[in-house]
């Protein structure tokens, strides 16, 4: 180990380290901005959140240095053991953790609390990388895919048992990694469509356009089914004629219907869309029988399932779910106008961000966040403070920092010579991406309100350390590559 230490300093990817430190400092400044009860002299005091966060950050740097000493071989060798230990810790946590706001995920070490779920992210990444690498799995095969999925689903389900659904959902990011390693892209598309259709279908089910009679949610989903079907036909069919016909029926038919409804006589366009989709489905099945081409059946099946899914979601939501469950889903989606619940948060967070304007109100000058209009202002809703105090310039800068970090990580991962390191690198990038995607999307009112932290940014030791370990394990692997 000693021989390699010198190499580390010259071989570590300093660009990533720099991005990491800049993001962390931006986060700390935002926590200062969000701390309403604090004046400038107290920022370093351990009794305040900025002071505590500063300590967490120094510890994180120490942790990072320590991790740089752990060799890739060591980590690779003990990947399964680390994974097993972390799973064990998750199970133990369910039983010994105290109930905090309904979740059982924090272990208290005498006033010092950690959240084991945060650390399961990197252990799962290690195990997954090792598993795919050593077995040389071909992930385009279903059996391999299922085996890998088990590794991901075990911690995911355990974390759901801890009532930390937000953290659990992050594990879905691993499927993006599996996609890179050969999983069929259709699965991603189907997963993406299911989530999108569900959210759109419910979120806009009661909304109508001005002077129109149909539900915007249903219209949006059906339009997307039409567009995706058309694109699929274009991608998989060799016959240009079929593509053209599908395009005319689907897209032109829908646009024409909308125009008539908007300009001449309002009618239920969604019924027209169902008819159009049915025609396309019949056409595809007919062609499929004629040519004995499987792809047509699959596309038709996709269209049928999508439409069926949309209506069953509506049906299940309205008829099967109890009213309180509906309210819960609505609140999670940010739909329920609950002044003390999620709807309030999102609205206030948008007001705070919007009030920042182009260049912001200046450091520590935000009023919306300081006045505690925005709850969770230094953890899940930390980005509001950036938006308010630093304006569009500052928040766009932070987003670009994240994009830079993510692209750099993908780039580094691709450079890795071993599949193990590549998979791990992708895991890091995808987990960070998922956090940024959900957290900032929630603050901007785009994604549902799911309480997960913004990496290296939100207040909190567990999450900062978890992300630091995640990132620096990869940087160590990368430095060994360049050292060679």
């Amino acid at each position: 180990m000693v021989t390699k230490r010198v190499n580390i300093l010259s071989n570590i990817d300093w660009l990533t380290v720099a991005l990491y430190i800049i993001v962390m400092i931006c986060g700390w400044l935002s926590i200062c901005g969000a701390a309403s009860d604090v004046d400038a002299t107290q920022l370093l005091s351990m009794s305040t959140r900025p002071g505590k966060q500063l300590l967490w950050m120094v510890c994180a740097l120490g942790l990072a240095s320590f991790i740089m000493l752990i060799t890739k071989d060591f980590v690779e060798k003990y990947s399964y053991l680390i994974y097993a230990l972390s799973i064990l810790l998750l199970i133990v946590t369910i039983f010994i953790a105290e109930d905090t706001k309904g979740s059982r995920s924090w272990i208290d070490f005498g006033g010092f609390k950690i959240q084991p779920a945060e650390f399961t992210k990197f252990t799962t990444a290690l195990a997954l990388a090792r598993f795919v690498d050593t077995n040389k799995l071909d992930l385009s095969k279903w059996s391999s895919l299922l085996k890998s999925a088990v590794l991901i689903m075990v911690p995911l389900l355990l974390i759901i048992c801890q009532k930390e659904t937000g953290t659990a959902i992050v594990f879905l990011a691993f499927f993006l990694v599996l996609y890179r390693e050969g999983m069929t892209g259709n699965l991603l598309l189907i997963g993406f469509c299911m989530v999108l259709f569900f959210i759109l279908g419910i979120k806009y089910s009661d909304v109508t356009f001005a002077n129109q009679v149909f539900s915007v949610g249903v219209w949006l989903v059906l339009s997307m089914v039409q567009i995706i079907t058309t694109i699929l036909v274009w991608m998989y069919s060799k016959e240009r004629r079929i593509t053209a016909i599908t395009f005319y029926i689907n897209i032109c038919g829908m646009v024409l219907g909308m125009s008539v409804s908007m300009l001449i006589y309002p009618f239920d366009v969604t019924i027209l869309q169902i008819i159009l989709i049915s025609v396309v489905i019949l056409l595809l099945i007919f062609r499929g029988l004629m040519d004995m081409a499987r792809q047509y059946f699959f596309i038709a099946l996709f269209a049928i399932c999508s439409v069926g899914y949309l209506y069953s979601v509506d049906y299940v939501f309205e008829k099967v779910l109890e009213p309180h469950q509906q309210v819960r889903i609505n609140v999670i989606l940010g739909l329920e106008d609950d002044p003390y619940g999620a709807g309030y948060n999102v609205n206030q967070s948008k007001i705070a961000i919007g009030s920042g304007g182009f260049s912001g109100k200046g450091f520590m000058k935000g009023t919306q966040t300081k006045l505690k209009y925005v709850p969770e202002q230094d953890t899940d809703f930390i980005f509001c403070t950036v938006g308010e105090e630093q304006g569009f310039l500052g928040s766009a800068f932070v987003l670009i920092l994240y994009l830079g970090l993510l692209l750099r990580l993908v780039h580094l991962a691709e450079l890795q010579t071993s599949q193990y390191c590549r998979i791990y690198g992708y895991s890091v990038a995808c987990i960070l991406f998922f956090h940024v995607f959900v957290n900032i999307g929630m603050v901007l009112g785009i994604t549902p309100v799911i309480g997960i932290p913004l990496p290296f940014f939100s207040y909190g030791g567990s999450s900062l350390w978890g992300f630091t370990i995640l990132l620096f394990l990869f940087l160590r692997m990368d430095s060994e590559r360049t050292a060679r």
Partner: protein, 614 residues
């Protein structure tokens, strides 16, 4: 090489990353730069609109006595951040509270789960609704307690300790009430019962706004633009009740120790002169800090004092109902004033017998009313239901039911109070179902004497009296006769004519007059004016209810009244004397010496109801 097979997928992943970030940047641009509404909202966050609560409308009785007014009360508030060097024990002693109460309140205020609007920078209510006396010590020493302040609002003040049911009460708005009406905010008060609820919109007034500037810490910095945008509050509209508060007081006094109702109506206008529901409670008990304790105590009381029995109690009307039967039989031509029926101590038909008491037989209409002969009305009803001109018993029943509904029974009358019950007038379908279509006049004979399935509210009985006093019409009874700067609903000014001729009403009036001269309610007689009346002795599971319905004077009646005393025995036992005293009070403006003695006697008499929940 296998590892190269999917190399291009890195671009897909990078593009996904980039698209998400770009979409977010566009979204940021729209929220922060192009869309100004969010900035406006933020600005309004920095201005604080202090609500100025209007004074609630005052309520007067028909003689312009103020019944309900407003009095100031005080909330002690605390701004946690400004509390410094607090001498807790001294504070407790001035406010007359214990240290435990202090701690409990403080932890409540700081608990965001229970007090969601909490901020350490804004004032929070520490102790609500203290009176001038309760606050005075504390006010003088307020300078000792940094962070504490006194805010004043107003609450209801009752000048007479009566009429709690009809006046109603105020309580904090519930979540659903806030959802239904933008007027209300957390902590506002709203009418919960009685006139306060029914006339909430008239009484509440318009809130005023004082626009204040606040700094980044939410502290008030002063008025915004010298109050240019302030809106002064508008006091609520005052109401004048038809109630005669002296009559109401007498009624409540007479009903002490009894369960029941007195309703008096001015026949010419439909104004309710008094509305007594016993047992009652002090309206003041539902004001102020002890409201919820008192409310719970009343709510759990076995005699259900919160119930306004005049409109929520439904009872068999007993023999008072015979007047309505007489009118129906006359109008339908089943009987005229010469028709007589035999009465051999009751109505006997086969094995069926409805008992009656000793009087001459056969008997005609007026004496039948006067002596309250059961037999006469059973025969009349039996004839009507069985009369072939209707084609069937069902159709006869429908004709009968239509008369009853026309007279104001079977449906809520539409009094201007919440919670009115409709009572019960059975129809043909009801009996078809009950007796599987095989029934006749005999099956349902009890209806004719106000028993059986028939139930009325005391208000409906009083309204029957008013209709007879008017010889054939009524105006929907109402408690509010005048709204300042507004008009009362037209249903309270228009006459509803009953489809029965005036001559027939005169015949019934004659019967009711004879009843007072030498019939069942001679005790109601007065030397000063001609009283018409009808007793009722309503059978039920327990001891009979004592009922009286009457009006006076016979010509140009000033008051129609219904008295209903649960388990009071004969109509003449309680109903008649109480009714007589009430009529005297209203018509002569007071009680004679002898009457005052009698009033004291009846006020002191109570009925033992046991401990059974009612």
């Amino acid at each position: 090489m296998k590892s190269f097979r999917y190399k291009n997928r890195k671009f897909t992943i990078m593009i996904i990353f980039a698209i998400v970030i770009i979409v977010y940047i566009c979204r940021l641009f729209s929220i922060q730069v192009t869309d100004t509404t969010y900035r406006e909202s933020a600005k309004s966050n920095a201005l604080y609109n202090r609500t100025i609560h209007p004074l609630r409308g005052i309520i007067y009785d028909r003689n312009n006595n103020m019944v309900v007014g407003n009095q100031p009360y005080y909330d002690v508030t605390v701004t946690i951040r400004e509390v410094k060097n607090l001498d807790t024990l001294l504070l407790c002693s001035y406010l007359d509270i214990t240290k435990d109460y202090f701690d409990e309140r403080m932890s409540y205020i700081k608990d965001r789960n229970r007090n969601p609007g909490y901020s350490s920078y804004t004032s929070q209510v520490f102790m609500p609704q203290l009176s001038v006396e309760e606050i005075s010590d504390f006010r003088e020493n307020l300078y000792r307690f940094n962070g504490f302040a006194i805010e004043n609002r107003s609450q209801r003040q009752y000048h007479y300790d009566v009429a709690a049911h009809l006046l109603g009460d105020l309580g904090e708005v519930s979540k659903s009430e806030m959802d239904n009406d933008d007027f209300y905010n957390r902590g506002d008060y709203i009418g919960k019962q009685g006139v306060e609820k029914f006339y909430e919109e008239q009484l509440r007034g318009e809130k005023g706004v004082q626009v204040m500037l606040k700094d980044a810490y939410g502290r008030i910095q002063g008025s915004y633009m010298d109050g240019q945008y302030d809106i002064p509050p508008q006091a609520g509209k005052n109401l004048v009740l038809g109630i005669d508060i002296k009559l109401q007081e007498l009624g409540e006094r007479l009903m002490q120790g009894k369960i029941g109702s007195i309703v008096a109506i001015e026949p010419a206008t439909g104004e309710i002169l008094c509305m007594v529901s016993a047992p009652t409670f002090s309206p003041t008990s539902l004001v102020g800090r002890h409201r919820s304790e008192n409310y719970n105590e009343l709510y759990n009381h076995n005699q259900k004092p919160l119930l306004n029995r005049t409109i929520m109690g439904t009872y068999p009307p007993g023999s008072t109902f015979k007047t309505a039967q007489a009118l129906t039989l006359l109008e339908e031509g089943i009987v005229d004033n010469r028709t007589t029926f035999p009465c051999s101590n009751g109505f006997v038909y086969g094995r069926l017998k409805v008992g009656c008491h000793e009087h001459s037989s056969p008997i005609s209409l007026a004496p039948a009313i006067a002596t309250s002969c059961n037999s006469y009305f059973c025969w009349g009803y039996f004839r009507m239901i069985g009369d072939e001109k209707y084609g069937s018993v069902q159709q006869a029943m429908t004709v009968w039911k239509d008369y009853m509904v026309d007279m104001g029974f079977g449906y809520a009358l539409g009094v201007d109070l919440p919670g009115e019950k409709r009572g019960m007038i059975p129809n043909a379908q009801y009996y078809d179902k009950l007796y599987n279509r095989s029934w006749n006049g005999l099956t349902i004979i009890s209806n004719s004497i106000g028993q059986g399935e028939v139930t009325l509210t005391p208000l409906q009985i009083a309204n029957l009296g008013a209709t007879i006093a008017n010889r054939g019409y009524y105006i929907t009874p109402h408690v509010v006769k005048q709204i300042e700067g507004d008009e009362i609903d037209s249903i309270y000014t228009s006459r509803h004519y009953v489809n029965v001729s005036r001559q027939n009403y005169e015949l019934v009036v004659e019967g009711m007059r004879q009843s007072v001269i030498d019939g069942t309610c001679t005790a109601a007689a007065s030397e000063l004016y001609e009283v018409c009346g009808k007793t009722g002795t309503a059978q039920n599971n327990g001891k009979d209810h004592s009922v009286f319905m009457g009006f006076a004077p016979r010509e140009n009646p000033q008051i129609a009244i219904a008295v209903y005393v649960e388990n009071g025995g004969f109509g003449a036992t309680y109903g008649v004397p109480i009714g007589a005293l009430m009529m005297e009070q209203y018509i002569t403006g007071g009680l004679s010496e002898a009457s005052e003695k009698r009033a004291e006697y009846y006020a002191d008499r109570s009925i033992d109801y046991g401990n059974k929940a009612r």
